[in-house]
C-alpha cells in the first residue's frame, strides 16, 4: 500500500511501498503493450508543470495519463503567468482551482515539489527537483532491473558519472539501498557530493575496478557546463577516464546490463557502440517509464489500485 497524497521522493518510502508500485506497474505495462486505454483516471485531470525543459519526461507522463483515460493540462511555464512573476505556491493554487487532480512538477530547485505539495490539494508527483530526487526515473530503473534479474536483492549496481548534481543517482541510491542491492558510485572527486557514502553506497574513482562483478552499470548525464565551472578539464579527458566502454565492461558479470536515464552524450558517458549494443536496455527504460508513471498516478488518485 502507498497511503500518501504525493510522490515527492523515494527517500521517505519503505521497501514495501516501492515494491507495491513496481508490482502494480507490471499490470500497467501489459495494458500499455496491448495498446489498451484504461479508465482508471477517467474524469480526472493531470497537469504537467515543467520549470525545466524535458520533452522526454513530460511526454512520458502525458502518455501515461492518457493511457489511464485522464484529461491533461500542460502548463507552458515559459509563456504562462509564471513568466510574469507568479510564485510557485500561487501557480499551484490556480491549478487546484482548475480542478486538477495531479500536478506533475519538474523544477531546477530542490524542495520545490515539497513546497507545492504543502500548499495544494492535488496530488503532487515530483518529476525531478534540482539535485534532490527523480523518483519516477528511479522507479523505472528499478522496474527494468527487476524485469531482467527477477529481484533487486544482492544485485551490484554501479552508477558512473556526475553523482554530485544527479537527482537520478540520489533516488536510485535511496531505493536500491532499501531493496537490498549493493551500490557503487564512480566519479572524479569534484563530481561526488560530500558524505555520499553515508547514503549507503561504496565510493570509487576508478570505473574499471568498480565495474568488476557488476550486474548493472548505469551512466549518468554529464551537463557540459560543469566543465566551464572547473569541475573537470575537458570532455575528452572525462570520456577517457569515465566513459563506460566495452573494454571496461568486460569485468562485469555475464549478462550485465547498461542503463542511462537519457538523453545520452554518446562517446562521453557511454561508448557509442555500447548504447546500441545487446547489453543496453536504454530504450526499454523509456517504455517502462510510462508503465511506472501509470502505476504511480493510479495508486495516488485512481482509487483502483
Amino acid at each position: 500500500m502507498l497511503r500518501k497524497k504525493d510522490l515527492l521522493g523515494l527517500k521517505d518510502l519503505t521497501a514495501e511501498e516501492i515494491e507495491y508500485v513496481l508490482d502494480h506497474a507490471v499490470e500497467m505495462k501489459e495494458a500499455l503493450l496491448s495498446r489498451q486505454t484504461l479508465d482508471n483516471l477517467r474524469g480526472k485531470c493531470v497537469s504537467t508543470l515543467f520549470y525545466e525543459n524535458s520533452t522526454r519526461t513530460q511526454n512520458s507522463f502525458l502518455t501515461a495519463a492518457e493511457s489511464l483515460g485522464a484529461r491533461t493540462l500542460t502548463i507552458n511555464v515559459a509563456t504562462s503567468s509564471v513568466k510574469k512573476g507568479e510564485s510557485l505556491v500561487d501557480t499551484g493554487k490556480t491549478l487546484d482551482a482548475l480542478m486538477t487532480d495531479v500536478i506533475v512538477i519538474r523544477h531546477s530547485m530542490a524542495g520545490a515539489p515539497q513546497l507545492l505539495a504543502k500548499h495544494v490539494k492535488s496530488a503532487v508527483i515530483n518529476a525531478g527537483d534540482g539535485m534532490n530526487e527523480h523518483p519516477t526515473q528511479s522507479l523505472l530503473d528499478l522496474f527494468t532491473m527487476r524485469e531482467k534479474f527477477g529481484t533487486l536483492k544482492d544485485l551490484k549496481v554501479v552508477l558512473v558519472g556526475d553523482i554530485k548534481h544527479s537527482r537520478v543517482a540520489r533516488s536510485n541510491l535511496w531505493a536500491l539501498g532499501k531493496l537490498g542491492a549493493e551500490t557503487v558510485v564512480v566519479a572524479p572527486h569534484t563530481l561526488l557530493p560530500k558524505g555520499v557514502e553515508e547514503l549507503g553506497c561504496e565510493v570509487s574513482t576508478d570505473v574499471e575496478s568498480a565495474i568488476a562483478g557488476a550486474n548493472v552499470v548505469m551512466g549518468l548525464r554529464l551537463q557540459l557546463e560543469r566543465q566551464k565551472a572547473g569541475l573537470f578539464p575537458s570532455t575528452s579527458e572525462y570520456a577517457e577516464l569515465f566513459a563506460i566502454t566495452r573494454d571496461k565492461l568486460e569485468s562485469a558479470c555475464p549478462g550485465a546490463i547498461v542503463m542511462h536515464p537519457g538523453p545520452v552524450n554518446r562517446g562521453i558517458e557511454i561508448g557509442s557502440g555500447l548504447v546500441d549494443g545487446a547489453s543496453s536496455v536504454i530504450e526499454e527504460q523509456v517504455t517502462n517509464g510510462v508503465a511506472v508513471r501509470m502505476a504511480v498516478m493510479d495508486i495516488l488518485v485512481g482509487g483502483n489500485a
Binding site: K11, S87, L88, V89, H107, S108, M109, A110, G111, A112, Q114, L115, D129, G130, M131, N132, E133, R167, R170, P193, K194, G195, V196, E198, L199
Partner: protein, 419 residues
C-alpha cells in the same frame, strides 16, 4: 519617574540579591530591602536583574526595506528580547555610507524611542568593495563601527587599506569574512545533509579563508579586527591561535550556531537558510568551546527579518537570514546556561558588556550613578516560540516551535519601562 525593582538576583561581575531603585534615568540605589517609594514597583523575586543587552549585529532594514522591518518595529522587538542598545548593519537602500544616512538612522532610532539605536557605516562606498567610505565623517555622525556585512570585501588590497585607515581613527572593522568565490551559489552547509537534500553546499573553507585573510591583514598592520558570525570549528581555531599570538582580533557568534545544525534544512525550511549556513554537530561543540575559553567574545543576533512572501518560496530563491532579537537570550540561557557550559555572569559579559566595550558604548553596570538600562529575566519561565506572535515584522524565525527556558519579563531603557 522612579522604579523600584525588588528582591531580584543581580548578575553583574558576580551574583547577589538586592533591590534596585531607579530615578531620573539613572540607578540611584542598590541594596537589600531598600525603603523607598517609587512610581512603579517590579517584583523580581526569583528573577535575574541584568544589565541591558547590547546587540552589535542586527538588520533593521530601514531605509528601503520597510516591508521587512522598520527601525521602530526592530527596536521594539529588541526591547522585547532584553536589548537596550542595538547596532544595525548598513546594507539598507540606500546603504549607510555617508554621514547624512548615519544621522538619519540614529534619528529614526530616537523617534522610535525603544532600544538605543546605533548605526554601523559601510567599509566601502555603496558596499561595492572598491573605494573606502567616509569613515571619519560617519564617526562624527554617530556610527559605532564599519562593516560591509552581507557582502564580503573580496579585494584584499581594499581590505588592507580599510583596516589601516580605520586604525587611524580607532574605528572597529566588523567583517563578514567569506571568500565568495568558494561559497559560489551554495545555499546550505556543504556536508551530508546538503547531499541528502540535494541542495548546493557552501564549503566551510569560504568562511575560513575569509577569516584567515583578515587575521593576516590585521596582524601585519597591528590593527583591530572583529569577525562577524563565526560558525565553523576551523574559524574558532584560527581566531584562538591569532589571539594567542597577540593579534587584536575579536569575534562574535550567534545563537543559531550553538543551538542548531544543518539538519534543519532537510525539510527545506527556508527559515533555516542563513549565511553563514547552519553547520554540523562538531561545529556546534567547537563554538561552545570557543565561548567557554574566551576565544569568542560576543553573542550577537544577526537578526535578519524578511517577509513571508520572500521566505515562502523555493529554497534556492528564499533570502538568507532569521530573526533573533526576541529569542537570543532565551536560546542562550537554554543552550549554554542550563547545560552548565556558561554561567550567567559570563553570559552577561558576552551579550552586554563586551559588545558595549567593542563599540565604544557606555558599559552598563548595576551600580548607583549608572544609566538605568536593565533587564528582568525569569529563568524559570518556559515558553514555546511562535513566530507569528513575534513583535518583529519578520516572522522568519529558525526557532519557531522551539521550547525554551527563561524569558524576559521587563526591559528598562534609560529609566523607562519599555517592555
Amino acid at each position: 519617574m522612579s522604579i523600584l525593582i525588588k528582591n531580584g538576583k543581580i548578575i553583574d561581575g558576580n551574583e547577589f540579591n538586592a533591590d534596585v531603585y531607579i530615578e531620573n534615568g539613572r540607578i540611584n540605589k542598590v541594596g537589600e530591602n531598600l525603603n523607598v517609594i517609587a512610581d512603579e514597583v517590579i517584583d523580581a523575586r526569583g528573577k535575574f536583574i541584568l544589565p541591558g543587552l547590547v546587540d552589535m549585529h542586527c538588520h533593521l532594514r530601514e531605509p528601503g526595506f520597510e516591508n521587512k522591518e522598520t527601525i521602530a518595529s526592530g527596536s521594539y522587538a529588541a526591547v522585547c528580547g532584553g536589548y537596550t542598545s542595538i547596532a544595525c548593519m548598513p546594507n539598507t537602500n540606500p546603504v549607510i555610507d555617508s554621514p547624512a544616512m548615519a544621522r538619519y538612522v540614529a534619528m529614526r532610532g530616537r523617534e522610535a524611542d525603544y532600544a538605543r539605536v546605533y548605526p554601523i557605516g559601510c567599509i566601502t562606498k555603496g558596499q561595492k568593495g572598491e573605494e573606502l567610505a567616509e569613515m571619519g565623517k560617519m564617526k562624527e555622525a554617530g556610527i559605532v563601527a564599519v562593516s560591509d556585512d552581507g557582502r564580503p570585501v573580496m579585494n584584499s588590497g581594499i581590505m588592507r587599506n580599510a583596516l589601516e585607515y580605520a586604525k587611524t581613527l580607532n574605528i572597529l572593522i566588523v567583517d563578514h569574512a567569506e571568500d565568495s568565490t568558494v561559497s559560489g551559489d551554495g545555499v546550505v552547509n556543504e556536508g551530508v545533509n546538503a547531499t541528502i537534500a540535494g541542495l548546493r553546499g557552501i564549503n566551510r573553507a569560504a568562511e575560513e579563508i575569509g577569516t584567515a585573510r583578515d587575521i593576516v591583514l590585521a596582524e601585519s598592520l597591528d590593527a583591530r579586527l572583529h569577525v562577524c558570525h563565526v560558525s565553523t570549528a576551523g574559524s574558532v581555531q584560527l581566531i584562538r591561535e591569532a589571539k594567542a599570538r597577540g593579534v587584536k582580533v575579536t569575534c562574535e557568534t550567534c545563537p543559531h550556531y550553538f543551538s542548531a545544525t544543518d539538519e534543519e534544512i532537510l525539510s527545506y525550511n527556508t527559515n533555516a537558510k542563513i549565511n553563514p549556513p547552519l553547520r554540523e554537530p562538531s561545529d556546534v561543540e567547537a563554538i561552545i568551546e570557543g565561548l567557554k575559553d574566551g576565544t569568542i567574545d560576543v553573542i550577537a543576533t544577526d537578526h535578519a527579518p524578511h517577509t513571508m512572501g520572500e521566505k515562502n518560496r523555493e529554497f534556492d530563491l528564499a533570502p538568507f537570514g532569521s530573526v533573533g532579537l526576541e529569542t537570543a537570550l532565551s536560546v542562550a540561557y537554554t543552550y549554554l546556561v542550563e547545560t552548565g557550559d556558561i554561567d550567567m555572569v559570563s553570559l552577561v559579559s558576552l551579550m552586554s558588556q563586551t559588545p558595549a566595550k567593542l563599540l565604544g558604548l557606555p558599559v552598563v553596570r548595576v551600580k548607583p550613578g549608572m544609566m538605568a538600562d536593565l533587564v528582568v529575566f525569569d529563568p524559570d519561565a518556559e515558553w514555546t516560540v511562535k513566530a507569528s506572535e513575534l513583535k518583529s515584522k519578520g516572522k522568519n524565525c529558525v526557532f519557531d516551535g522551539w521550547h525554551l527556558k527563561g524569558k524576559v519579563q521587563n526591559t528598562v531603557v534609560g529609566g523607562v519601562i519599555k517592555y
